[in-house]
């Protein structure tokens, strides 16, 4: 399998404070990789660095080309759909406008309507809320909308920042089922950052464990999840 994303010696920080101290990880085409770690480990910063939202150093190879230093909008145009913390919903706009915006930088505008209908098939609840202001959707619906909006880009890679955050356990379960299905059926590649390690390990192929800006352990998700020591010291379950 070819590497879709390969990160080498990634450093990043905010002002004088360095948050990432040289990360190396990679993601296969069609694969799911998860970054696990506690609050402040640098998970979100890693995603932000890939999207050019923070100053970073090192190398980020996307489909073999270094994208480090590119602007956020250019990275998006390459087919990287980032669902940020807080979901990035356009709250003042309708559900449908949010979906349209997801596809706004695509060249093949004539297929957009077809994709919107497809999203409504995947997420029937969104269809009911079509013309509703997105800010008034429930937390779970907004997360569905965020995923649908990301898919509208027809992304080569999806970056998900804590998709379970603030959602009821049942909704979280439903969402991970949807993500698993998307990965299987659409062959969508995903990099998932999660605090809920059990869930993320269930869907991922590979896992990396982050502690204060460095990777302390990596390997196939199954193996990491089965390791007693890792579970006790890092994952807390």
């Amino acid at each position: 399998m070819t590497k879709l994303l390969e990160v080498k010696g990634l450093t990043a920080g905010y002002g004088q404070v360095r948050v990432l101290h040289g990360l190396d990880f990679s993601l296969d085409e069609g694969g799911v990789t998860t970054l696990l770690g506690a609050n402040g480990a640098g998970k979100t910063t890693t995603l932000r660095a890939i999207c050019g939202m923070v100053k970073a150093g090192g190398e980020i190879l996307f489909e073999g080309k270094n994208i480090l230093g590119k602007s956020t909008e250019d990275v998006a145009r390459l087919g990287v759909a980032h669902i940020p913390e807080g979901r990035g919903t356009f709250t003042r706009m309708t559900t449908e406008e949010n979906l349209l915006l997801g596809a706004i930088s695509r060249k093949d505008q004539k297929n957009v309507q077809k994709d919107i209908d497809k999203m409504y098939d995947h997420f029937p609840r969104l269809k009911q809320r079509r013309l509703q202001q997105a800010g008034t959707l429930s937390g779970g619906e907004q997360q569905m909308l965020a995923i649908a909006r990301a898919l509208m880009l027809r992304p080569r890679l999806m970056l998900l920042d804590e998709p379970s955050f603030g959602l009821a356990p049942l909704v979280v379960k439903e969402m991970f089922e949807i993500l698993t299905a998307l990965n299987k059926e659409e062959n969508a590649s995903m990099l998932i950052v999660e605090q809920n390690a059990a869930l993320a390990l269930g869907i991922a192929d590979d896992a990396y464990l982050l502690e204060t800006g460095s990777i302390v352990m990596s390997g196939p998700a199954k193996q990491i999840g089965a390791d007693e020591n890792v579970r006790r010291s890092y994952l807390g379950y």
């Binding site: 999207c51 939202m53 602007s71 956020t72 909008e73 250019d74 998006a76 145009r77 759909a81 980032h82 940020p84 990035g88 919903t89 356009f90 709250t91 003042r92 706009m93 406008e97 349209l100 915006l101 997801g102 706004i104 930088s105 505008q109 202001q133 800010g135 008034t136 959707l137 429930s138 937390g139 909006r149 880009l153």
Partner: protein, 292 residues
């Protein structure tokens, strides 16, 4: 009753001026989420350009078109040169620059064209409209142009993807970047469009108030009042607000004995304050609902 009707008609005709300006105000608010205090001066400067062209013998409509295009480019240039470098600065820095622009443009116009009052031609003539001396054909034309602009803007923002991208860039720049929108160019485009609309407003207003560097000061205030009354997020509301402010001003001047010409201007301020207290989103503005 006859008097009331006449005063309302006169109010609508002055309201057309405010409506036109309110539309430009809302346009820039949509693009940058701020009010631009230099908006009136930009419109005044554009109008001077048109005046200069007409003086040189350029036919009216050609001068009109050139002015709109030049203003659009000028608006984009102001954004690129002055505001792009401070895009991450706090709101107050922007306000300071707005005020600086205001006085720079005002003095520049005075320097180039001096402060004597000039008359500006109207493409619609100044014959009475519908046999009434209270509304002239020019003012009728102004109402028509304002409504036409409003329709165009509505179509642009609701049905084009550039319009959608502009709205997204203004409402949520971080998310807009994540879907690949070039936010900073959208802002520049918003400036260009606001400057172009402002130039149209200026050229329509100038035949009524005469052209001089300070022509826009009170009009911008009324324009703000109209925009706030109708709602800063609603172009249609802003236009209606502009007309309403014109009518309110006229009726107050006629029926409340204390209010003469001297006290007319504070009415705009009273409208702004009352609206902000009782209906902060304006009469037609979208109340932003969000779950926390």
């Amino acid at each position: 009753m006859e008097l009331l009707f006449q005063q309302i008609l006169a109010g609508i005709s002055t309201g057309a001026i405010y409506a036109c300006m309110a539309l430009a105000v809302v346009m820039i608010y949509q693009a940058i989420d701020h009010l631009n205090f230099a908006q009136g001066e930009m419109a005044m400067f554009s109008t001077f350009i048109a005046w200069q062209l007409i003086e040189k013998g350029v036919p009216y409509w050609l001068a009109f078109l050139i002015t709109v295009v030049v203003s659009f480019i000028g608006g984009v240039a102001i954004e690129r040169i002055v505001f792009k470098p401070i895009e991450h600065a706090p709101v107050l820095s922007h306000v300071v620059i707005f005020i600086a622009l205001y006085s720079v443009i005002n003095s520049m116009a005075g320097f180039i064209w001096d402060f004597t009052v000039k008359s500006f031609p109207s493409p619609f003539g100044s014959s009475p409209l519908f046999g009434s001396t209270l509304i002239s054909s020019h003012q009728g034309g102004m109402v028509a142009v304002t409504l036409g602009l409003l329709l165009l803007l509505y179509l642009f923002f609701s049905y084009t993807s550039v319009g959608l991208a502009m709205r997204a860039a203004a409402a949520n720049p971080a998310s807009a970047r994540l879907v690949g929108i070039r936010v900073s160019w959208m802002t520049a485009l918003g400036w260009g469009m606001a400057a172009a609309i402002g130039s149209i407003a200026g050229m329509l207003i100038a035949p009524v108030v005469f052209l001089e560097p300070n022509m826009m000061i009170s009009i911008l205030l009324y324009g703000f009042a109209g925009a706030v009354l109708g709602g800063l997020t609603s172009p249609g509301g802003a236009v209606l607000g502009g007309f309403a402010v014109g009518v309110i001003e006229n009726l107050a001047g006629t029926y409340i004995p204390v209010i003469g010409a001297e006290l007319k201007l504070p009415i705009a301020l009273v409208v702004i304050v009352v609206v902000l207290v009782f209906k902060p989103a304006g009469l037609f503005g979208r109340v932003v609902v969000s779950r926390v």
